[in-house]
């Protein structure tokens, strides 16, 4: 259930940026959620909705939230090979560890071609805000 912590990070950011600009209305927030976070979409959306409601009570109105999911992509620093999560397969226990700190993927995942741990997480790592439109 650390979906709540991730959602909270989003609303803390919105509140901070809104107050900085002296703005009370946010027309649109686009949030990107990486596959490695293995988020329960329903829980995350519920948490975000609740936290945004409490933002409204504090005078900040968020009109629309878009959530985009981003597939994980990896690229090997040693041999250049690119792959995605389905190609390697990880255990439930590994997925659990990675969902807290996506970077520990480098412990459990190795390049399917050369076996190296030394690769780049090209996409699908974390949660970030892609767009923030003030009213």
């Amino acid at each position: 259930m650390h979906e709540w912590a991730l959602a909270e990070a989003i609303t803390v950011t919105i509140e901070y940026e809104a107050r900085k600009r002296g703005s009370r209305t946010i027309e649109l927030v686009e949030v990107v959620v990486g596959e490695l976070q293995s988020i329960d979409r329903e829980v995350f959306e519920f948490a975000l909705k609740e936290l945004i409601a409490s933002l409204r009570e504090r005078g900040i109105d968020v009109r629309k939230v878009d959530i985009e999911f981003e597939e994980a992509k990896f690229k090997c620093f040693r041999c250049g090979y690119q792959w995605n999560l389905s190609e390697v397969g990880i255990s439930e226990h590994e997925r659990e560890a990675i969902h807290f700190i996506p970077d520990v993927a480098k412990v459990y995942i190795r390049c399917p071609k050369c076996g190296s741990h030394d690769f780049e997480i090209v996409a699908g790592r974390g949660v970030y805000i892609k767009r923030l439109e003030f009213g």
Binding site: L6, E8, I10, V12, E17, A97, I101, V107, Y128, L132
Partner: protein, 248 residues
């Protein structure tokens, strides 16, 4: 546009602390991890609500010193993660080792930076003092903590070895340029208090502890109370200094 919400969350999560003390030194093997663990325990047993965070991301060791089995003990997930409580004490402990299964983490600097930001943004501390074990060198771990923490007050650790003193000296200049004011100095593996005082004068840092070579330390690895008992007698000044700030 790319806004990193972790940076905002971290600000909020670290605001709960009255004092944040990274244990730092440019050289490895000077005793940072041992001191971080023992000092945290001493303070926790004096009633301070202490958090201990292992930021030696590629080679975390604090759990080995504390005797915590990272395979069986796990932080609880509750609107974020709650650090592990150590035995009967109120010491809160957090390490990436809980998620790497006690393996070496072959991470580049950008991954280290990401891992640190992730840990700091989801960990829900209830402590008022945060002690941070750091790796040697002056890279992402140290740069991140001095830029993310509000007013960090590092304790610098050195041994009486020339190599250690020389490299501490040059690193103090960078810390000062970054606006960081060390809390003081701990000299480890020193047989003489005079020598410790001399070193603290050379470095213009207040001497917070002077710790000799302790024969039984090796046997205390994995036994937190034994570790604390061994080091505590030498760390009264360090403990008092921190208590004064935290209880103010």
């Amino acid at each position: 546009m790319f806004i990193d919400p972790r940076l905002y969350a971290i600000k909020r999560r670290l605001a709960v602390f009255r004092l944040i003390v990274p244990i730092v030194s440019p050289k490895g093997g000077v005793g940072k991890s041992v001191i971080a663990a023992a000092l945290s325990l001493s303070l926790a047993l004096k009633g301070v609500r202490v958090g201990l965070l292992d930021l030696d991301i590629t080679n975390p060791c604090s759990h080995l010193l504390l005797g915590i089995d990272v395979e069986t003990t796990k932080p609880i997930e509750d609107r974020g993660i709650r650090p592990v409580k150590l035995g009967s004490t109120e010491l809160e402990f957090m390490s990436i080792a809980f998620y790497s299964g006690n393996k070496t983490l072959p991470l580049r600097g950008t991954d280290i930076d990401n891992a640190i930001k992730e840990v700091l943004s989801i960990t829900q501390w209830s402590a008022s003092l945060l002690i941070i074990d750091t790796p040697p060198g002056f890279s992402d771990e140290v740069l991140d903590i001095i830029s993310l923490a509000p007013n960090p007050r590092p304790i610098i650790v050195t041994t009486p070895s020339v190599l250690s003193i020389e490299t501490v000296k040059r690193s103090l200049e960078v810390l000062s340029n970054e606006g960081v004011k060390p809390l003081g100095l701990i000299v480890n593996l020193s047989h003489s208090v005079d020598l410790c005082l001399q070193i603290s004068q050379v470095l213009s840092l207040e001497l917070l502890a002077c710790i000799p070579w302790l024969t039984n330390l090796e046997k205390a690895v994995g036994k937190p109370l034994a570790l604390k008992d061994l080091l505590e007698p030498y760390m009264t000044k360090a403990i008092e200094t921190i208590l004064r700030i935290v209880e103010r």
